[in-house]
Symmetry: C2
Subunit: 397 residues, 2 copies
């Protein structure tokens, strides 16, 4: 029988979702599970989105523009201006989720076999996108004790080869919550300049900032021609199922290539653009501040509860809605599964995302876990208290 | 400045859309354009789709299942059963448009540099998908005088090399309207078996059949483990902007790889699956018959009008809503542009898709054009009459 491709073999299953069968069995057995393993916010999608979708008067759901609906890109340009990012319609392609923007960026900067530097721990789906584009992600390790900030310059440059085409960054970061400082962004700019690399910047958590400010790749003038900004409305507007993202680049060769890729797949979904246009048009001045405040409270609560777990370690993260916690556990993959199959506290347990899935280097992350603080404060506290009980019970089992 | 990838350079702009600037200028100048250049149906999306979307009660647009919403796949299984295709949830992945299903299929069967056989003229976006997957489409030419049916076996086998991984077919065909016979499908099966190839079958026009019957790749038992069925609701339910397709394969290794790719991009859009589920649930027994009847009338009208153009040639196509017409024109690219910039008949003109964009072999299709009969009969007749007037005027200019 004919074989599937080598590339197909390289696509990893989602490490975040591989515990699902155990979670389902646990739920069937009557247990309540606090799911802080994935980044599905519990915040409602803005009413303006639903109103626009519910009232959409068209009778034919026709193809939209491959670049995105003009009325949507017009609103996006204003949104980016409010974030200090100056852009224009011809520098922007609306994509089907942030996912598509990453795949397009990788395909445009790199050929099969080429390399892209990424700082681990990183969002595991990057591995899937890299497999699609058949490019190699070369990890540079960041450390819990540094709050997952950039390692010394030399450690980054040591990984650059003639095949390196880009540096991929994510700030505020998934899974660590770390926000890169302006100085760090300038370091990245310097490396990119020196080694002639593109900088692919995943900024989907832009508004989720609890200390300091966000520096976009497009806030650094020196990066102008090298910067590829990736974005998504999934988290910002709690619309993960909308599959609406965008890619912005001021480099004409890049954006022209992305546009040709975009033409091949015809267009991003139309209805969601109608909804998202309304959201941006009617955006309340306090929307992001309120959301940010809610998540700051959750972060503080989560951090406080994690601090009570004996032997656990975590630097307080400044953004996104994740924290990477070092646990006094030898193999967190086994532990996370055990939490679902063997542990309960008054009929409840907690599901976390094991650390190794976020590392490309084998053996890394064995005692780390990602917590997503996407539950209300009370549930979140209870979830992490249960995690603490589980850690104790696991080590005394 | 850092360079974009070789692959990026291989992604062609859409040849169907490259006349757009001239069409826009012509419209601005006050001309009415009959657009029979693209396959955007004028039929309304079923009311059940809109009702479901307008009433969707959820407050959070959350991630759906990477395979598709279970309630949607359940309806798809019944739909395929009604088309004589026996399938199951574990053999199916809902995709973001038919586009994504093609990209996934190519990535899973072929590695960069591998080859996939396709019969030209073919849907030009296949070139874009092939560029994304970095695979090479090797064309086998079909001929107007054969009604674009398969050439002799030897011509197909002559193109097979050790790098060939699959044969890509499309029936009913875009751009020719040709429907492969059961005997032709069995020929494909034999070649696939002999050379150990996958068969990727684009069947998005399944219900658009005016003579004979449709043979699906999954109607051929011998293909069971080699067949990858690609589909989309874009044309069938006049929902091009929904971006909803699917991929079906009974080969476990293939479907497992597609599932891993699907996990990386998280999920197809949720709202459209809600709409499409309702469409399938409430599908009126006569829906496809009525639609098919409407398009059959249009095909007959279009064919009749084309027959009146002196020197034009076309075999009456049996399916889809396209016909490939041979015109008494030396360079149809120049002619199609001229129709927009220099020609008018009572303030009106017609826009067609030039043939060369549908061929991979340089120089082919110079006297062919694709007509999409997606207008009401009266408009369609007028559009083709104008085309005939244009041909005459062009040759006497």
């Amino acid at each position: 029988m004919s074989n599937t491709s080598r590339r197909a073999g390289n696509v990893p299953p989602s490490p975040i979702r591989k515990l699902m069968p155990f979670a389902n069995a646990s739920q069937k057995a009557g247990r309540k599970i606090y799911k802080i393993n994935i980044g599905q916010p519990d915040i409602e999608t803005p009413e303006s989105f639903w109103n626009a979708v519910h009232k959409y008067p068209s009778k034919i759901l026709a193809y939209g523009d491959a670049r995105g609906l003009p009325e949507y890109t017009a609103e996006l340009i204003k949104y980016y201006a409010s974030a200090g990012i100056d852009t224009a319609a011809e520098e922007m392609i609306v994509t089907t989720g942030g996912s598509e923007s990453i795949v397009f960026a990788m395909m445009v900067v790199a050929d099969p076999g080429d390399e892209i530097i990424a700082f681990e721990p990183f969002y595991p789906n990057y591995n899937g996108y890299a497999a699609m584009a058949d490019v190699k992600i070369v990890p540079v390790t960041t450390r819990p004790e540094d709050g997952y900030h950039l390692p010394p310059l030399a450690e980054i440059e040591a990984k650059i080869t003639p095949k390196t085409k880009a540096i991929l960054i994510c700030s505020p970061n998934n899974p660590t919550g770390t926000v890169l400082t302006k100085a760090e962004m300038e370091t990245i700019a310097k490396i990119a300049e020196k080694h002639d690399l593109f900088v692919i910047s995943d900024e989907v958590y832009r508004e989720f900032i609890y200390e300091g400010t966000h520096t976009s790749v497009l806030h650094i003038p020196a990066m102008k021609d090298r910067a590829i900004l990736l974005d998504s409305i999934s988290k910002r507007f709690s619309a993960c199922g909308a599959r609406l993202g965008c890619l912005i680049c001021k480099n004409k060769t890049v954006i022209d290539a992305v546009w040709r890729l975009a033409q091949a797949r015809l267009c991003p979904p139309t209805l969601e653009q109608i909804g998202a246009t309304a959201v941006l048009k009617e955006l309340n001045a306090g929307y992001f501040a309120d959301m940010s405040e809610e998540y700051r409270r959750r972060r503080d609560a989560a951090f406080e509860e994690v601090s009570k777990i004996e032997g656990a370690f975590c630097m307080k993260p400044s953004g996104a809605f994740y924290m990477m916690v070092t646990l006094p556990i030898d193999d967190v993959e086994v532990f996370a599964k055990w939490m679902l199959t063997d542990f309960e506290s008054n009929g409840e347990t907690t599901m976390v995302a094991p650390g190794p899935g976020f590392y490309a280097t084998k053996g890394k992350g064995a005692n780390e876990a990602r917590l997503a603080y996407v539950l209300r404060e009370k549930d979140l506290r209870r979830a992490i208290q249960i995690l603490g009980e589980g850690v104790k019970a696991y080590n005394h089992r």
